[in-house]
């Protein structure tokens, strides 16, 4: 394996390997990971990169995901770029240390392959694993294609290091993780120019012996938390700028959200992850038939680009949120988020919530079409969530 053979070329790669290439090009210095389907290929290829010397990194083969994240925290506070990848149960096990990474303001990048939580055991995709980590304070970016996965991985390190927050890059199990697509892999030189070496602002230094993370009284804690919130507000601007700069250099940008045929739309669908790709095709078809329907893809989930989302969705009469997740006893999580954005808006379009595709059940174009038909027919939703395709 030679660097000039695998970079600066267009290659057909899986979503998992797109992450690995992103991490290689970002020159991660410490990687710690534990195997879990469907993530494992990410770290398999990375360990190969490390073994061949293509990537000069320490790879710690830890005994659990909890330790994977702890090792990343340790590496990051020592002053280096750290990465890990996981899925579902692994992400849940990391939970405590995700809080640690955020509270310690460490720019660690985590790739999470969206997989349904057990029991019963499922390796297939849905978003409940990453959305269960919504409130830890990590930045969350949901990807639609393998190219976006690679580009987002590289962007994530830059965003993370500018605002000192960990970033989660999220891709759907199998639909992206194990599906091959042609991906433009930049050269190391191009990425180096975009992403300079990590310059830590706080780190363990024997010449300046400080303590990090000690007992913090009510006199100080709130202000430290407030600074995390301020960093999230800053991250909105930074993520946008980083994406624009990326577009200038590499010719590909994604935005924080992406409106598709939204200008004159009567109904706008809201999606994230790979359902977006399926929905795009349905929108194209509906538009050919003259139906005024649009699509809003949410790429940056946390921090939430509320103003941008509101600005686009206010163009529509009705909104249909497609949730591949569920907050039991309430409704779909994206729908709750979108509804909350509109509470103080001058106009509140009806918001329909469709829960679909849990545990990796296929979301077909017919399903999306049925959702559109339903929303066009109804003036307002008669139930909080519509359980699309459930056989009960």
């Amino acid at each position: 394996m030679k660097l000039n053979e695998i970079t600066g070329v267009k290659k057909v790669v899986t979503g998992n390997h797109a992450v690995s290439y992103g991490v290689l090009l970002a020159r991660a210095q410490v990687i710690a990971a534990y195997p879990i389907t469907p993530q494992t290929q990410i770290v398999e290829l990375l360990s190969e990169f490390c073994a061949t010397g293509l990537l000069k990194a320490k790879f710690i083969k830890v005994e659990s995901e909890h330790s994977a994240m702890a090792a990343c925290v340790g590496a990051s506070i020592s002053g280096v770029r750290a990465f890990t990848a996981t899925s579902a149960q692994g992400l849940a096990l990391m939970h405590e240390m995700l809080h640690w990474a955020v509270g310690a303001r460490l720019p660690i990048v985590v790739a999470n392959v969206n997989r349904a939580m057990g029991p019963g055991w499922s390796v297939w995709t849905d978003q409940n694993d990453s959305l269960s980590q919504r409130d830890v304070g990590m930045i969350q970016l949901y990807c639609e294609s393998n190219q976006e996965v690679l580009d987002t991985t590289i962007q994530s390190f830059k965003i993370a290091e500018k605002v000192l927050l960990p970033v989660m890059v999220i891709l759907d199990a199998f639909v992206l993780s194990h599906t091959s697509e042609p991906v433009d892999i930049p050269t190391l030189e191009e990425v180096d120019a975009f992403l300079p070496p990590y310059q830590p602002r706080h780190y363990l230094d024997i010449n300046n012996p400080q303590a990090f993370g000690g007992l913090t009284s009510p006199d100080h804690y709130y202000e430290i938390r407030m600074k995390i919130e301020i960093a999230h507000q800053e991250a909105l601007k930074v993520a946008k700028k980083v994406d624009e700069e990326f577009k200038e250099r590499f010719g590909r940008g994604y935005g924080l959200i992406e409106p598709y045929y939204c200008d004159d739309a009567k109904v706008i669908l809201v999606t994230s992850g790979t359902i977006t790709g399926t929905a795009r095709e349905v929108i194209d078809e509906e538009r050919r038939k003259g139906r005024k329907v649009g699509l809003l893809k949410i790429r940056l989930f946390r921090p939430t680009p509320k103003d941008e989302i509101k600005e686009v969705l206010l163009r529509a009469d009705k909104i249909a949120v497609i949730d591949r997740n569920i907050s039991f006893g309430h409704s779909g999580i994206f729908a709750q988020e979108i509804k909350s954005i509109f509470y103080n808006a001058y106009r509140k379009p009806p918001i329909f919530d469709f829960i679909i595709g849990l545990g990796g059940r296929d979301v077909r174009s017919e399903d999306i079409k049925e959702i559109i038909d339903y929303v066009f027919k109804k003036d307002y939703p008669t139930e909080d969530a519509i359980f699309k395709g459930v056989r009960l």
Partner: protein, 297 residues
């Protein structure tokens, strides 16, 4: 006395004004360990008494960097920091994980076992005060047989013997495993100095009594520590590569365990029969250790 002065005649890396209780074995243990390891040390502290002793933000009583971490992560946090230091070419910096017995023998044993199996180049010190003292004296797996704690209250003392962490760790065949005691500072300092020079995982189990939790006067710290070794309840020994045992201290006259037990409130409920049972177990373990130390390779 002179030997202790010689051993400790190094820079003081722990400041006064820390938050430990009077007579704290854990505080003394840290002070001695840092004397041995010196300034080029980074200390990792999981949830334990030392989370408090170091001082609340923004205070900090050690003159080396400290990273406070989650309860079960002492070993892996040290490994992560070490990996980060190594990749930056700062290989001369030693990383010390300094955890209590709960953080070592209970919640942190998985991460510790992982680090041992990988033979990560860190020093792991367990300061053993034989219960969850920071949360208020709850039993841990390192609490000795028949001891009182707030979760093994009067009438139901701990029914299980103390988990033998030294043997568990040594079974990973790491290069260096040892016991040490705040009652024997010169031995403790020698062992940490030795550990500093060895590559791979070094585990040192420090006997660090807690007068508060053991229900005894703070000024008995050194006496009780020395009695633990003089009775062979806590022998001082080291194990190289997990197989070669060496006993570092043989009591001139092996004292009965009663001497040790009678000065601690946590054992005040023990009957003569129970003390006899403990004596038998201690005799057996001491004999076993001597047999291991005599083994030829």
């Amino acid at each position: 006395m002179r030997r202790w002065q010689e051993a400790s005649r190094t820079e003081e890396l722990m400041n006064s004004g820390h938050f430990a209780c009077p007579g704290c074995g854990g505080a003394l243990a840290m002070r001695l360990v840092l004397k041995a390891l010196g300034k080029k040390t980074i200390v990792v502290i999981p949830a334990c008494c030392w989370s408090i002793i170091d001082g609340p933000f923004p205070l900090h009583c050690l003159r080396v960097p400290v990273y406070h971490t989650a309860f079960e992560t002492a070993a892996i946090m040290a490994s992560g920091i070490k990996a980060g230091m190594d990749i930056q070419g700062k290989e001369d910096i030693k990383v010390l994980a300094f955890a209590g017995d709960g953080g070592t023998a209970d919640i942190g044993i998985q991460a510790l076992s992982g680090a041992c199996e990988r033979n990560d180049d860190i020093i792991y010190a367990c300061y053993d005060n034989e219960a969850y003292m920071n949360t208020g004296i709850q039993r841990s797996s390192a609490t000795p047989l028949l001891a009182w704690t707030t979760t093994t209250p009067e009438g139901t003392p701990k029914g299980e013997p103390k988990k033998n962490m030294v043997e568990i760790v040594a079974a990973h065949r790491i290069p260096y495993t040892a016991t040490a005691s705040v009652g024997f500072p010169e031995d403790l300092i020698t062992k940490f100095k030795k550990a500093k020079e060895i590559k791979g995982l070094k585990y040192i189990h420090i006997y660090a009594p807690c007068p508060t939790g053991w229900r005894m006067a703070p000024d008995l710290l050194i006496k009780v520590s020395q009695l633990a070794t003089e009775t062979c309840i806590f022998p001082l020994y080291e194990i190289e590569d997990g197989i070669r045992y060496r006993i570092n201290y043989f009591p001139k006259e092996k004292l009965p365990v009663r001497e040790y037990i009678k000065i601690q409130g946590r054992f005040s409920h023990l009957t003569e029969k129970e003390i006899g049972l403990i004596q038998k177990k201690v005799d057996f373990e001491w004999d076993l250790l001597n047999k291991k130390a005599k083994a030829q390779f």
